[in-house]
């Protein structure tokens, strides 16, 4: 008896998340933007628009729209929590709901971390090593690990790295950073 309400509450909390917090985060960004726009100077000077007018107007419109979105999210929750929770459960992937951190799934966090690491390594250790390692780890991430077909993944990483090099450096003459050019 006691488990049902608590599970419902947790579902409500999680389904409110994105619908409310995405506009909330955007509102925060917009506020910073608005303050910066105001710091640019008065919006009108001598009857003409200045550089701050358009950003200020855009930010105000944006804040109004975001406020509407947040109110809509809150009202939606208050009106039909069960329906929404059911819809959310249905609309998500066919698999059971995956654990999320700050709105990102584990897989998405993996891609972000790997990509950020790749960007750091790209300049430091060059295209070849960075790309090979990045692709190898990505193939592992997209196929759920290295336990199966690790040799195929290794070959795929080598082929993609070489193909990328041929495409950019040879065909399109883009100078890619290399370990020996650092």
């Amino acid at each position: 008896m006691t488990s049902k309400p608590s599970s419902r509450q947790s579902t409500q909390r999680s389904s409110l998340g994105g619908e409310f917090f995405v506009p909330a985060a955007l509102a925060l960004i917009t506020l910073v933007y608005l303050i910066s726009a105001i710091q640019l100077g008065p919006p009108m000077k001598g009857g003409n628009m200045t550089a701050s007018f358009f950003p200020i107007a855009t930010a105000i419109l944006m804040l109004i729209a975001l406020a509407c979105a947040m109110v809509h999210a809150l009202r939606g929750k208050a009106k039909a929590p069960e329906e929404e929770a059911a819809a959310n459960a249905e609309s998500s992937d066919d698999a059971p709901r995956r654990r999320q951190y700050v709105g990102l799934s584990l897989g998405a966090i993996g891609v972000v971390v790997l990509t950020a690491g790749y960007l750091l390594a790209f300049d430091l250790i060059g295209y070849f090593v960075a790309t090979f390692v990045y692709v190898l780890l990505l193939t592992g991430l997209f196929s759920g690990g290295f336990r199966e077909k690790w040799l195929t993944k290794l070959i795929a990483a080598i082929v993609i790295t070489v193909a990328g090099y041929l495409l950019f450096e040879v065909v399109f003459q883009v100078r890619l950073p290399t370990l020996w050019s650092q």
Binding site: M62, T131, F142, I160, T161
Partner: protein, 508 residues
């Protein structure tokens, strides 16, 4: 005469082996991206964008046009055979194609889809060649206040065409406009929103925004999925098609009728001109009209080739229409034409009323590519690759998305040879991921980013002409026309909403 010879010169340009190779290559890439569920032709063109730094502008435009055309028709492959539309524009095709597949007529349904795409695509390209110069003449009449009202009209229509999520469309558009204001002011030499960093003074480049919004965010979304292949191999076994069955019987083509093809092509073209409408809207409107005017509306939803013909004819004809506002006014109405605009801007070209006459030699091969892709490559690809389509699109996801990641990230590096652009692509990718998860239309973000600077520039110029008095927008006839048009569109799309008639909810 000059424009006719210029347009014919476009066809002659396709005889260049390199250009031809890029057109065919682009078509095959577009077919693949359009057919694989989850990938779109927009993503294909987005990945091509960095390469345009090294490509000749004509070649790049030719490749973009063939990708666009291929992406529109190839979504019907998986829509028909396994009931998973490869692209949103093929959703109506799935309604009719899959029931045909279930009764063993999948190949014939694909044949009808290809025929409709071929007719619609060719007619759309022809209409583009005929109408674009006329539209350019009209565009010359529009002055600064009118240009502001036109861009405002385009943005408002883009927002209100996001049915059911107008607020989200508005937020995404305004966010795009905000991003576009970063950097040097459009009128005076003043850096805005740089937050003390020199890297933002030049503003945000279109490339990392496009790569992030369409490629990186897709990687993040796909990282949630656990299937090993893009299409389940067991579904391929159940959906075998034979080459000889592709040709639709003449009796069925006659029953569909020339008028239906023509009407669908005109609908698709007209919808293409509208900002934000796109292929899915074209297919939807044409399908609904086809059902309304059909002698046998009861057959719709049960595997009727009429529905396939109407939907596919319209979404391919849309390709031609979508280029009209981009080329004549510099206003892209959908992500594909926005990226094509990016290709032009990268090469120092700015579309506008004079563009069609002054740069026809650069643009004509793109028109020719649209036409040839529709008339020759669509049926040829279906005939040659048709039986193997499903095997081709069923590939390992780990290999596919790793390859996309490399092309996207290294492609972002190309513009400035700096990892800052790659980092920006990642930032925009994460941002777009959150927006997409909450059903914010990222296409609005892109179009807001593209049109925002022009909106601000024309607004400020128009007001400076009239000493800051906004009445100029209501006294200038061209501006007044677009304001009236905005009101009309707002009335019909928001106040008097079009009815779905349950088309989208009918079980496939």
């Amino acid at each position: 005469m000059d424009s006719i010879s210029g347009l014919l010169g476009g066809f002659a340009a396709l005889a260049n082996p390199e250009t031809l190779l890029y057109m065919i290559g682009g078509f095959l890439i577009g077919t693949f991206f359009g057919a694989v569920p989850g990938l779109t032709s927009v993503l294909a063109i987005a990945l091509l964008l960095p390469l345009t730094y090294s490509l000749d502008v004509t070649t790049a435009l030719v490749a973009c046009a063939s990708i666009f055309m291929a992406g529109m028709c190839s979504g019907s492959i998986t829509a028909t055979t396994i009931n998973i539309p490869g692209a949103p524009s093929s959703m109506m095709t799935a309604l009719e194609g899959y029931p045909m597949q279930q009764r063993g007529e999948g190949a014939k349904a694909l044949g009808h889809a290809a025929l409709g795409s071929m007719i619609g695509g060719s007619l759309g390209a022809l209409l583009l060649m005929v109408m674009a110069p006329l539209a350019a003449d009209v565009a010359l009449l529009i002055r600064t206040p009118g240009k502001f009202s036109l861009i405002a009209f385009a943005l408002i229509v883009i927002i209100i065409s996001q049915r059911g999520s107008i607020t989200k469309g508005m937020i995404a558009t305004l966010f795009g406009v905000m991003i576009a204001t970063i950097g040097i002011d459009v009128v005076q030499p003043l850096a805005r929103f740089t937050f003390g960093t020199s890297v933002l003074v030049q503003g945000i480049d279109m490339m990392p925004l496009i790569i992030g919004t369409f490629a990186i965010s897709e990687l993040l979304i796909q990282a949630d999925s656990r299937s090993s292949r893009t299409v389940d191999p067991s579904m391929i076994q159940a959906a075998k098609v034979r080459r000889r069955d592709f040709i639709p019987p003449l009796s069925e083509v006659r029953e569909i009728g020339v008028m239906r093809y023509l009407k669908s092509a005109v609908i698709g073209y007209a919808v293409g001109i509208l900002p934000g409408a796109g292929g899915s809207m074209a297919a939807f409107v044409s399908y609904a009209e086809s059902m309304r005017s059909s002698k046998h509306p009861e057959r719709y939803g049960k595997g009727n080739p009429e529905g396939i013909a109407a939907a596919e004819c319209a979404n391919n004809s849309m390709c031609g229409g979508a280029f009209v506002p981009m080329l004549t006014f510099g206003i892209p109405g959908d992500p594909t034409t926005a990226i094509v605009l990016g290709v032009l801007v990268i090469n120092g070209l700015q579309p506008g009323p004079q563009f069609m006459t002054q740069q026809l030699d650069l643009i004509a091969p793109m028109f020719a590519s649209l036409f040839v892709s529709a008339l020759i490559l669509i049926p040829l690809t279906l005939y040659l690759l048709g039986p193997y389509f499903l095997k081709i699109v069923s590939i390992r996801r780990d290999v596919l998305y790793s390859s996309i990641a490399i092309v996207a990230l290294v492609g972002s590096y190309v513009a400035t040879y700096s990892t800052f652009q790659m980092a920006l692509a990642l930032v925009f990718g994460v941002l777009a991921y959150f927006l997409r998860k909450q059903k914010y239309p990222t296409v609005c973000l892109l179009l807001g980013f593209v049109l925002g600077p022009s909106l601000e520039e024309y607004c400020r110029r128009a007001l400076s002409i009239n000493d800051g008095n906004p009445s100029i927008f209501f006294t200038s006839p061209d501006s007044l026309f677009f304001i009236a048009l905005t009101v009309v569109f707002f009335y019909f799309m928001v106040i008097r909403k079009p009815k779905d008639r349950g088309l989208g909810t009918r079980p496939a």
